[in-house]
Symmetry: C2
Subunit: 370 residues, 2 copies
DNA sequence: CTGAAAGCGCTTACAG
DNA sequence: CTGAAAGCGCTTACAG
């Protein structure tokens, strides 16, 4: 192990910049000069010790009300802002959480982060956000960065590369909450939507409309939400006494661009579905476009159901029938769970929210059903 | 001023929680016990001073290679992670930036944040994210929180409530970069798209198709991007020698739900547009739906152009002609600008990117034009 | 009610 | 090459 390679991913850059780049930077940094007032400056101005200033600023009863008032006035005038970094060094709490996401540009993810943010704002926490881009190396790097920032807790959404860094996480010193995690069972605390139940309902909706051949277009294999949604789909068929036809299952990988192949496979064969249940709305979006390109009308020829209810889904032509996920609620719940863990409270390991089927115009009875 | 109300917004909660809630919390915090190894622990194990450990971990030439190696091995084994909070106390740099957004659930915003994130990851910075929800009070609160976290710089995207807290910002001790700011001229550094140019091009596209009556559906009045896009629209008309018809202008407030009224106004009057240029894609989405509801076909009866090129726009029926904003690029540029400022480099105050007109099927020549 | 002291985890001149 | 010392900005027993 050379002297260079010791802290492989997370550290190399920070350490380097602290040593060289940042060292040089400090010298000519125009903003470094602007002195931020400290507790000492106020102490000097108020002619008291900095201990007293600290107490006064916390409204401690241990300080003479008049002195306190004088100090607080000074603090206001000088634009004093306490350094939370310094405080957290002694309190050992940073009032900070880390959120790692695959990509913030995913509308599901940003809806969730919105909820986390709201709850954090309400409770006085700040949130670090980091994209992993589903890159395991980068995911490890951001988790390390969070450790070094001494976050009080971590929320990981839609982790798909869990296997690699799960050992890291479990060795960590802070509580972790997984949201919509794709690798089940490894962790104690998670927030998820009840995929099975919601998918069963969505599929049942198609069955009730009279569809006999219902396709499923899923995500990559082996991810929990795909597996669960698929399970719900099969369960609905089973309960309705319909047989499961494996050739009606295809995989679109969760993105609009990747739906073409799935649609082609499903509709090039003899046994064609009259309805498809899609893993998510982005897939449904791609599916609907491909169906149009193939000259099939939705819902006249094919009914389409999505999952998520993204902001644009009700504006599509036709408006998309889909399962609404309460993203902000899920984010808030994840944050609440984290806060409970920080408070040492007992809390259920796995919290589930229920989706809501939004029936819109992309689903209808199959042709010739009346 | 009572002892309670001194630090009105930003501070009340943090201070309170440090005093009471958090104090109680620390006691029963299950995770507080797990000791994170410090430089001292390693020093003890390695039988050297903590100064030496610090040097070894930075690959300082001032330490015996063998000692250094021993120390680094120990650091690895103990899972040591340096505390950046402690380091930043002395280096006076936190390697941290704050990003304030109106709402992360806006796809334009999340695209930008994606770019900021990428650049931050590349350069060893961590990013604090905070939503303002376009609430001035909350915006001030998050800026204060950033100050207390001693961020090295701040990026503010799409600020709409600038007026209120701009005095705060300008008194701050860190550089600020505005992205797509809605209140021009107050600040030194900003990254924006060239709205005028892009809108002119979009409008020219409609003119070239033969449209004589082109509507504009804008955002709220007084916001810079609306003003600029409107300017581009007018400029295109002017250059083409067409007269500007004020009754063809309406406001949709930038969201899909709010487009109905605008569409109704434009199409209930005698002079109806045969094409509309919309402030953004969300507006266009709502406009297209409303047109469908009114029995008008796009583009046969009305051509529609958007702005942004959100991820769903090319999947719409018809695919939307729109101006692509390079969101991640803009985010990266904002971050680069910030880093340059931190390095004390000279940098142009206002950087503009150019949009790209994506011509798709939502635009066509007007009816009866041939 | 107040201040001096110790300490949180680091970095970095200064003196050997 | 190494360690002791000072200090970053705070908090908090401890002693008055």
């Amino acid at each position: 192990l050379g002297p260079r390679g010791l802290f492989p991913m997370a550290n190399e850059k920070p350490i380097e910049s602290a040593g060289t780049a940042a060292g040089g930077r400090a010298a000519k940094r125009p903003f470094a000069g602007t002195h931020q007032a400290s507790i000492k400056d106020i102490a000097r101005l108020a002619n008291v010790s900095h201990s007293t200033v600290s107490r006064a600023l916390h409204n401690s009863p241990l300080v003479n009300p008049e002195t306190a008032q004088r100090i607080q006035k000074l603090a206001l005038e000088t634009g004093y802002r306490p350094s939370l970094a310094a405080r957290s060094l002694v309190t050992r709490q940073s009032q900070t959480v880390g959120v790692v996401v695959t990509t913030i540009a995913d509308p599901f993810v940003s809806g969730v982060v919105q909820g986390i943010e709201d709850e954090a704002d309400r409770t006085g926490y700040s949130v670090f956000l980091a994209n992993s881009n589903a890159d395991p190396e980068r995911e490890v790097r951001v988790v390390h960065a969070f450790e070094e920032r001494r976050v009080d807790g971590i929320i990981v959404t839609s982790s798909r590369v869990g296997a690699l860094y799960i050992p890291h996480l479990s060795r960590m010193h802070v509580p972790i909450v997984l949201l919509n995690n794709q690798h089940p069972g490894e962790f104690v605390h998670s927030v998820m939507i009840d995929n099975v139940e919601a998918s069963e309902e969505a599929t049942r909706h198609l069955i009730c409309l009279g569809h006999k051949h219902i396709g499923y277009i899923g995500d990559r294999y082996g991810h929990q939400s795909d597996t669960e949604r698929f399970t719900g789909y099969r369960r609905a068929l089973e309960k309705a006494g319909m047989i499961f036809e494996p050739e009606l299952v295809a995989h679109g990988y969760g993105r609009a661009e990747e739906a073409n192949e799935a649609v082609d496979r499903l509709f090039d064969q003899t046994l064609k579905p009259t309805a498809v249940f899609c893993y998510n709305d982005m897939t449904a979006l791609g599916v609907m476009r491909r169906l149009r390109e193939r000259g099939l009308r939705v819902p006249a020829d094919v009914s389409v159901v999505g999952f998520d209810d993204l902001h644009f889904s009700e504006y599509l032509d036709p408006p998309l029938t889909t399962v609404r996920q309460p993203m902000p609620l899920m984010g808030r719940m994840a944050m609440e769970t984290l806060l409970s863990l920080l408070d040492g409270e007992e809390i259920e390991q796995s919290r589930k929210v229920t989706g809501e089927l939004m029936v819109r115009a992309s689903t209808a009875p199959p042709k010739g059903s009346r």
